[in-house]
């Protein structure tokens, strides 16, 4: 029987009982990819040599107690194609990096390798992680495992779909404005965005450096906590990496929510929500109340400014970060007689529409005469938004709300850029304030998954897992698998 769709915890237990080998788990993952990926397009490349080597290494680690095999040892994982793996193609979903092979490995990936995890391949994503549907990839759209005609969300759509389709039990993505939580919500899986700085950004292809954060996808809250713990922790190679020791995210997993104070931000339950999303999330909040939490309505008045703030700050940072793609040291080059012409043509042909839009917007917002009106002002509103979170966390322990205002939509259905940006309205403020947040399955609307978001104060990542685990333990939604998972 195939292991497709099992949790990492179930696979790890089977490995330790000797019922399965890392090679067999890898073979199952590959079989699932080869059966489903012609319709899903979740993977951009398979890292076959690396996976084989790691499966062998895991076998040795599991055999010898002294090698300290951890919970991800022998577990197949997938990596969003913005995470560098030395010697393997890393495209960030862009033409401009089509033939790029990084000379070094991202810290998060290195920690997975050291832990004996088995990286199966690199997953599809919006170009440079800019998007909410994975339709901005230069390498084709990704199907949602629950309905392949619909988007998986984005920008980490390939990573979300890979877990949702039972190809791997754990994958990693990045979240700059919701790019882990929103696709997790749309694909019916768990997605966790850690406190900013908890996971090293070394070797992560930069989009917006003050917002980017690496995090996991999984079938369960416990798996997500384990997957987070393996990659978290200070890294001297990232100067924004948090120095304080990581609180064990598993420590409070069974503590429950009795006596906890949970806030529901009024602005997150507004008119923009689909009826089905509102109903499922309202029911989920009731479950937490029945489990003994005190639930109260709170207000984050500047929520509606989050999107505007983000769409100045993120493009400004990206316009600067993406200046490095100049066709000189790496990446694509379109040769022209003069260097300036070479820059212009290389970037015109190498970047897709959404990346160009954001580079233009960011360049404009940072340009002389507009800097104060846009960039400086957005940075101040960012402070206001962060302070409002600080204020509500004076009275509540965590916030619960929807992750995405809507369920998965049909590929191609949203053409207007601003309408697309609204998909992240409920996730963006969390990035602006640097907070930890999770999305976990809380039911279905029209047979499509709905996600519940839990948000906690900075560095209280363990509290996010505690609330999420309590909800999960009381419900069955996390056990549902998309019909295509079973052959």
């Amino acid at each position: 029987m195939s292991s497709a769709g099992l949790t990492a915890a179930a696979m790890a237990a089977a490995l330790r009982r000797g019922e399965v080998t890392p090679q067999e788990l890898l073979a199952d993952a590959r079989a699932q990819v080869s059966r489903l990926d012609s319709s899903l397009n979740a993977f951009l490349a398979l890292t076959d040599d690396l996976a084989d080597r790691q499966a062998e290494r895991a076998t040795e680690m599991l055999r010898d107690d002294r090698l300290g095999a951890g919970p991800l040892c022998g577990i197949p994982v997938a990596l969003k194609d913005v995470l560098c793996v030395e010697g393997y193609p890393t495209t960030a979903g862009s033409r401009i990096l089509e033939n790029f092979r990084p000379p070094y490995t991202a810290t998060a990936v290195q920690r997975l390798i050291d832990a004996g995890a088995v990286p199966v391949g690199k997953t599809n994503c919006d170009e440079f992680a800019m998007g909410s549907s994975t339709e901005n990839s230069a390498y084709g759209t990704v199907g949602n495992p629950w309905d392949v005609e619909r988007v998986p969300g984005g920008s980490s759509g390939g990573s979300a779909a890979a877990v949702g389709a039972g190809m791997v039990p754990i994958s990693y993505g990045t979240d700059t404005g919701g790019s882990i939580r929103q696709p997790a919500s749309l694909c019916g899986v768990v997605g966790f965005k850690p406190t900013y700085g908890r996971v090293s950004r070394y070797g992560l292809i930069a989009f917006a450096s003050s917002l980017d954060q690496v995090g996991p996808f999984a079938h369960s809250v416990e798996d997500a906590a384990v997957a987070y713990a393996v990659v978290a922790g200070n890294d001297p190679r990232d100067s924004t990496s948090v120095i304080d020791a990581v609180e064990d995210p598993l420590s409070a997993l069974r503590d429950g929510v009795r006596g906890m104070r949970l806030g529901v931000p009024r602005e997150y339950m507004g008119d923009g929500l689909e009826a089905g999303v509102r109903e499922r999330v309202t029911e989920a909040i009731r479950v937490l109340e029945e489990l003994g939490a005190t639930v109260e309505e709170v207000s984050l008045p500047s929520t509606e400014l989050g999107l505007s703030t983000y769409y100045i700050i993120a493009p400004a940072e990206c316009s600067s970060n993406l200046a490095r793609y100049d066709g000189v040291r790496f990446g694509m080059r379109v040769e022209r007689p003069s260097l300036t012409e070479t820059y212009l043509r290389t970037r015109d042909q190498g970047f897709g529409n959404e990346v160009k839009r954001r580079v233009m917007l960011g360049t404009y917002a940072l340009s002389s005469g507009y800097y104060d009106a846009y960039y400086r002002r957005a940075q101040k509103v960012r402070t206001v938004i962060a302070r409002e979170f600080d204020a509500v966390f004076e009275t509540v322990d965590a916030l619960v709300c929807p992750t995405s205002p809507k369920v998965a939509f049909t590929t191609g259905a949203i053409q207007d850029p601003v309408e697309m940006y609204l998909n992240d309205a409920l996730t963006i403020p969390v990035n602006l304030a640097g907070l930890p947040g999770i999305s976990l399955p809380c039911g279905f609307s029209d047979e499509l998954p709905v996600g519940l978001q839990v948000i906690a104060p900075r560095l209280q990542d363990a509290r996010v897992f505690r609330v999420a685990a309590a909800y999960e333990a009381a419900t069955e939604w996390h056990r549902h698998r998309a019909p295509l998972v079973a052959a």
Partner: protein
């Protein structure tokens, strides 16, 4: 404030994006639409509010000044579109 075509061309040059005529027109319309949305920022009360550039509490993170390994010349040149074996090669800088 709608962007006129000259402004779009100016920003495109600053961003080193060689947009053609039709793309420039579409870009101008998209940017107008987005700037119209973000104009909400102009209504925010931000008097006496400091700017946030990053959310962590970290300031000036240094490491000890000890020599460490780095990429070899071969590794550094491995992804280059054009080299002469020792250096990156580009076209004429002077027009």
């Amino acid at each position: 404030m709608p962007l006129d075509p000259e402004e779009v061309a100016h920003v495109a040059l600053l961003a080193r994006l060689g947009l053609d005529g039709e793309e420039r027109r579409r870009m101008g319309a998209d940017l107008d639409r987005i700037l119209d949305h973000v104009s909400a920022l102009q209504r925010a009360d931000i008097s006496d509010v400091p700017e946030t550039a990053q959310v962590g509490a970290l300031v000036n993170v240094w490491r000890e000044d000890v020599p460490a390994g780095s990429l070899s010349q071969e590794q550094a040149l491995a992804n280059a579109p054009d080299t002469d074996g020792e250096y990156f090669k580009v076209g004429a800088i002077q027009e």
